[in-house]
């Protein structure tokens, strides 16, 4: 009777330790959260800001940074955009070309392709603006375990949109690798991106 409890506890603890080391047992150190194997590979069919339909294949070999937002976004999206731009521009120049940010607008009612194009170019001209009809966007969001929702519009027709604040990082093969939380410092994003883009080169 007396030895049973510590035994069970030690079982649980060793289980926890295993789980932890499983999570942390990385060969490389990353600043962002590693999500290897936790999310499916990058796959989408969306409309680009120039009106073309594009798939993930289009940017194969590139480190792709996918994130969700809308152009009327008051704070989160511009901050993310600015931070990402800063992080990428701090990379060595030859590696900058290995990185493609993908901005997916989840507000197709207001974000026309033209408007999306202007918006992303304002921040960083290598950013690809993407959108689609709502059902397609819902499917994409579900695939990456995220969602978005709309507030009731006010009298001027403005409404708020809830969406993921994270950036999903996929390597050149389209494998989900990192999740950048919004509070991750810019220099740490740069470090991770350099490491990831460098891997793709070697």
């Amino acid at each position: 009777m007396t030895f049973r409890i510590p035994f069970a506890r030690s079982l649980v603890i060793s289980g926890l330790v295993l789980l932890l080391t499983g999570c942390l047992g990385e060969e490389q150190a990353w600043n962002a959260k590693t999500i290897d194997g936790m999310l499916p590979d990058l796959e989408f069919t969306l409309t680009r800001s120039d009106g073309e339909t594009v798939t993930a294949e289009e940017y194969k070999g590139q480190v792709r940074l996918m994130f969700f937002g809308f152009t009327n976004c008051p704070d989160v999206c511009p901050a993310t955009m600015a931070k990402l731009t800063q992080a990428i521009k701090a990379m060595p120049e030859e590696l900058q070309e290995e990185v493609t940010p993908l901005f997916v607008s989840v507000d197709p009612n207001r974000d026309t392709p033209e408007r999306l194009g202007e918006y992303v170019n304002f921040f960083y001209d290598r950013t690809v603006g993407l959108t689609a009809d709502e059902p397609t966007l819902r499917k994409l969001a579900k695939r990456y375990r995220t969602t978005f929702g709309y507030d009731e519009p006010d009298e001027r027709g403005n409404y708020n949109v809830s969406h993921s604040a994270a950036i999903y990082v996929f390597d050149g093969n389209g494998n989900a690798r990192l999740l950048l939380r919004p509070d991750l410092p810019t220099d740490q994003i740069t470090q991770d991106l350099v490491q990831l883009a460098g891997q793709a080169r070697s």
Partner: protein
């Protein structure tokens, strides 16, 4: 009404199969049982209500909101870990279990033994209480919670582990067999277990409620179902972790006190005699 809301958000064939098996297993046994062993309509209703509640939070649009709102996720676990299993255990499905045991035990042969051992280990009272409260802590541990909400596989493991553990625990508590004539757990011990699991859940819930920072940022990272203030979401979620589970324990204790009073019997004479002689 939008009937689509009754369809699964994340369709899981295994889950649906499991629920179908349990429901049809219950009905088959019910029909086969002799009249005096058959559960009455109230018990049948309680069983299917519990089953339906658990199914609804796993395989309807409720699951969508559970994935993207912390407080709804807490509501989901309240049903999977407490309310649903509690109703199922209270419905006393013992005759049904006995029926299937009679049917399946011979076929299982040697395999029945390890299953029984495993069952006895997880139903050891302290292990059961530790597992019950421990699972709540484990899945609400912020890094684990983040992964569970991000990885689809882990999310399913989380929900199923909560449901199975809930069933085991509440069955231990509400076992209909009297401890006077069977080795089932004594009423005092059952009440003690209910107190033991309530306290850590209350502490955790209170910690979430009074935490000023953001404890579970995964809902911020992955987007909410609608634009709701993260602080409100966390507050309501914390309250749902704190108050209702404690109330469930109180309800459980009241039921057990009622049973213990009904089941009160004079102590066997020989024991009384032993006590009287110094």
């Amino acid at each position: 009404m939008n009937w689509n809301l009754l369809l699964p958000y994340d369709f899981s064939p295994l889950t649906i199969l499991a629920y179908l098996l349990v429901a049809s297993g219950y009905i088959v046994a019910l029909k086969a049982l002799p009249g005096d062993e058959k559960p009455g309509p109230v018990r049948i209703f309680a069983f299917f209500l519990g089953l339906l509640l658990c199914y609804a939070v796993m395989q309807t649009w409720f699951d969508y909101y559970s994935q993207y709102m912390f407080f709804i996720h807490r509501g989901q676990h309240l049903i999977l870990h407490h309310l649903g299993p509690m109703l199922i255990a209270l419905s006393n499905p013992l005759p049904i279990l006995r029926y299937w045991h009679r049917q399946l035990a011979p076929a299982m042969g040697i395999w029945a033994l390890p299953v029984r051992w495993g069952y006895n280990i997880v139903q050891q009272p302290f292990i059961a209480a530790f597992l019950f409260a421990g699972l709540v802590y484990f899945w609400l541990w912020p890094p684990v919670h983040f992964n569970a909400m991000l990885s689809r596989d882990l999310y399913w493991v989380m929900n199923w582990s909560m449901l199975l553990d809930g069933l085991l625990f509440w069955w231990l508590i509400f076992d209909s067999r009297s401890p006077h004539d069977t080795p089932s757990l004594g009423y005092g011990k059952r009440i003690l277990l209910l107190v033991l699991v309530a306290v850590p859940q209350m502490v955790l819930g209170a910690w979430i409620v009074f935490n000023r920072g953001m404890v579970y940022d995964v809902y911020e990272v992955c987007g909410r179902a609608w634009p709701m203030s993260p602080a409100d979401d966390q507050l309501i979620g914390g309250i749902l972790t704190w108050i209702p589970p404690a109330m469930m324990s109180v309800v459980g204790i009241l039921i057990l006190i009622g049973r213990a009073m009904k089941d009160d019997r004079p102590r066997p004479r020989h024991r009384l005699a032993e006590e009287l002689t110094p």
